[in-house]
């Protein structure tokens, strides 16, 4: 809105922040790189092909959509690259490349540009696209490749740890060390807990994201799983490192335009995400619920912000007893 218009404010001096969208997005990309490296080591070079497909088609979709809608070009802010990267992290490595490209197109054009572009999207584009692909191509989206199998000629399919925990598969559980390093079945970017935590800590240290949402999210899941697992710490560790919890908590729930701005609201948002994730994992028919949890909470963000609106300074809360007396009279 400021573009091309005079912004009339009081006299200088003013402090200017050096943050730009491009810089923030570049930080997110840097934070995602360790996980991308780990994924390539675990699932093989096809990871890079899938990632390149989603990134290139996301940027292309953004460019064409802006051009067709006669809006200014925004591919330089790198947000489309981030969306493409995160979407790739949410896909199984064996996904046909054209499906990955359709996911990127859906994320950028339908979820982001139809609603006005960056900052206007109602839901995280990558998550919405993941769910779109999951509903469209259930078979291909649930086809998990076994870790480190790419070195052999035949790819072996494998179950995810959460599916094994849920009793859907009789395969042996990976050890906790394997879980930490990401040597397990799953979406290509969600497996390596170590790399994701590294990226998350980098983002928090660079003040790109506030720790409130990830801490509230992971904390809620930890508390509920501790109780649900009858204080079995091993079960807890599998729940925290399994599925897309770390990827979701650090990189997807913290998306600026789809998470609350106010500090209290952030905590409520995180707790809500944790609660829905646990309900789906414990009682739902799907083994994993991170993407649905974040999508549902994305939709509730405006309402959380309204409910958590801060009290204006100097106002006094009306006492309930007085109000009751007034009614009695």
């Amino acid at each position: 809105m400021v573009n091309g218009k005079k912004l009339v404010v009081s006299a200088s001096p003013h402090l200017r922040t050096k943050d730009t969208t491009t810089k923030i997005m570049l930080d997110v990309i840097i934070a995602l790189l360790p996980a991308l490296g780990a994924a390539t080591a675990i699932f093989g070079p096809r990871v890079l092909a899938v990632t390149a497909t989603t990134v290139i088609s996301a940027v292309l979709s953004e460019y064409v959509a802006r051009k067709v809608m006669k809006r200014h070009n925004t591919i330089k802010d790198l947000s489309a690259v981030v969306t493409g990267l995160i979407l790739a992290f949410n896909l199984p490595v064996s996904i046909p490349l054209w499906m990955a490209a359709i996911g990127s197109f859906f994320a950028i054009v339908v979820v982001k540009q139809f609603f006005g572009g960056i900052g206007q999207n109602f839901a995280n584009p990558a998550i919405a696209a993941r769910i779109f692909l999951l509903i469209s191509f259930g078979q291909q989206m649930g086809n998990w490749t076994a870790p480190l199998a790419w070195k052999n000629a035949d790819a072996v399919s494998s179950a995810t740890p959460l599916a094994i925990l849920g009793g859907e598969s009789a395969e042996a559980m990976p050890s906790l060390l394997q879980m930490l390093l990401g040597v397990r079945g799953g979406s290509l970017g969600e497996t390596c807990a170590l790399a994701l935590i590294l990226g998350g800590v980098y983002l928090i240290a660079r003040k790109v994201i506030s720790p409130k949402i990830p801490v509230a999210y992971i904390g809620t899941v930890a508390v509920i799983m501790l109780i649900a697992g009858k204080f079995d710490l091993e079960f807890l560790a599998y729940q925290l490192m399994g599925g897309g919890l770390l990827l979701g908590a650090f990189f997807m729930a913290t998306d600026y335009s789809t998470s609350p701005i106010k500090s209290n609201a952030k905590i409520v948002f995180g707790i809500g995400c944790g609660l829905i994730t646990c309900i789906i994992r414990l009682f739902g028919s799907l083994p994993e619920g991170v993407s649905f949890a974040i999508l549902i909470m994305n939709l509730l963000v405006p309402h959380i912000e309204t409910i958590m609106a801060p009290k204006p300074f100097g106002t006094v809360k009306e006492k309930k007893s007085k109000a009751k007396e007034g009614e009695a009279k």
Binding site: W98, V110, F137
Partner: protein, 258 residues
């Protein structure tokens, strides 16, 4: 009272400018539910069109007899009679369509397009005009359904006109050499996107087509609905409030008192 128009205009307004589905946003439930395949959509559209034309004619004939206080129950009785007739005919002659449409065939009774046209048009206009209005709206509804269904069937199932014999059975066995729809050639290589057959895809298609219809209607030099206020509303010509010089916003304030 609605202004006088030529019969041709009464017919064509239902196609785009006042298309019941995309412009008036009526009958959304059957639109989303039965537009999973073109054949179902066609069956639903034609059934609704027959009911719409017949009920418009009868209601227009009775418009001076029905007391305005009980007009809605009276309209419903007329509409329900025709729906029952249509349902029996469909059951007898095209049973496969009946089982495909399921509950949505009897639900035409409460289809708001039909009740809406009875209330907004047939109750105030001559028999011929009402019949033409019903036909135009019915064709508009059928076109809208078929457009939605084409997108959803092609993308979601990779077929077009699948199960065509369900409808063609009306003209005898194995007409058109037993034609039963196409399977699109690319389904060998590309898996169809199931989401378009399911509810989310229905809403998605609905929104996109609605945007296209708005663009088409607005490109004819008409003001955009949200900018032009009540005058630009697709329902403006039939709006009783507007005829009295009021706007919908006024009614909300008065509504509490009434």
């Amino acid at each position: 009272m609605a202004e006088k128009k030529s019969l041709g205009k009464e017919f064509t307004k239902g196609l785009i400018a006042e298309n019941p589905v995309f412009r008036l946003v009526l009958g959304t439930c059957p639109t989303l539910a039965t537009s999973t395949s073109v054949v179902n959509a066609l069956g639903m559209g034609i059934s609704a069109m027959i009911v719409l034309v017949c009920s418009n004619i009868v209601i227009s004939l009775l418009r001076k007899v029905i007391p305005s206080k009980v007009r809605i129950p009276a309209y419903i009785v007329v509409i329900a009679s025709f729906v029952t007739i249509v349902q029996m005919i469909v059951k007898a002659f095209v049973p496969a369509l009946d089982s495909a449409l399921g509950v949505f065939l009897p639900l035409i009774v409460v289809n708001c397009i039909i009740l809406g046209r009875a209330e907004a048009f047939a109750g105030k206009n001559s028999v011929v005009a009402s019949a033409v209005d019903g036909l135009g709206m019915g064709v508009g509804f059928t076109i809208a359904l078929c457009l939605m269904a084409s997108v959803r069937e092609i993308l979601g199932a990779g077929t077009f006109l699948a199960g065509a014999q369900n409808l063609l059975v009306l003209f005898g066995d194995n007409v058109l050499g037993g034609f039963n729809g196409f399977t699109l050639p690319w389904t060998e290589y590309l898996t169809p996107m199931t989401v378009f057959i399911l509810a989310p895809g229905g809403f998605l298609t609905f929104g996109l087509l609605m945007a296209c219809a708005n663009r088409l209607a607005e490109s004819k030099g008409k003001p955009r609905a949200e900018l032009g206020g009540c005058q630009a509303c697709p329902m403006a010509k039939n709006c009783a409030l507007l005829a009295e010089g009021k706007a919908c916003n006024d009614e909300k304030k008065e509504g509490e008192a009434v």
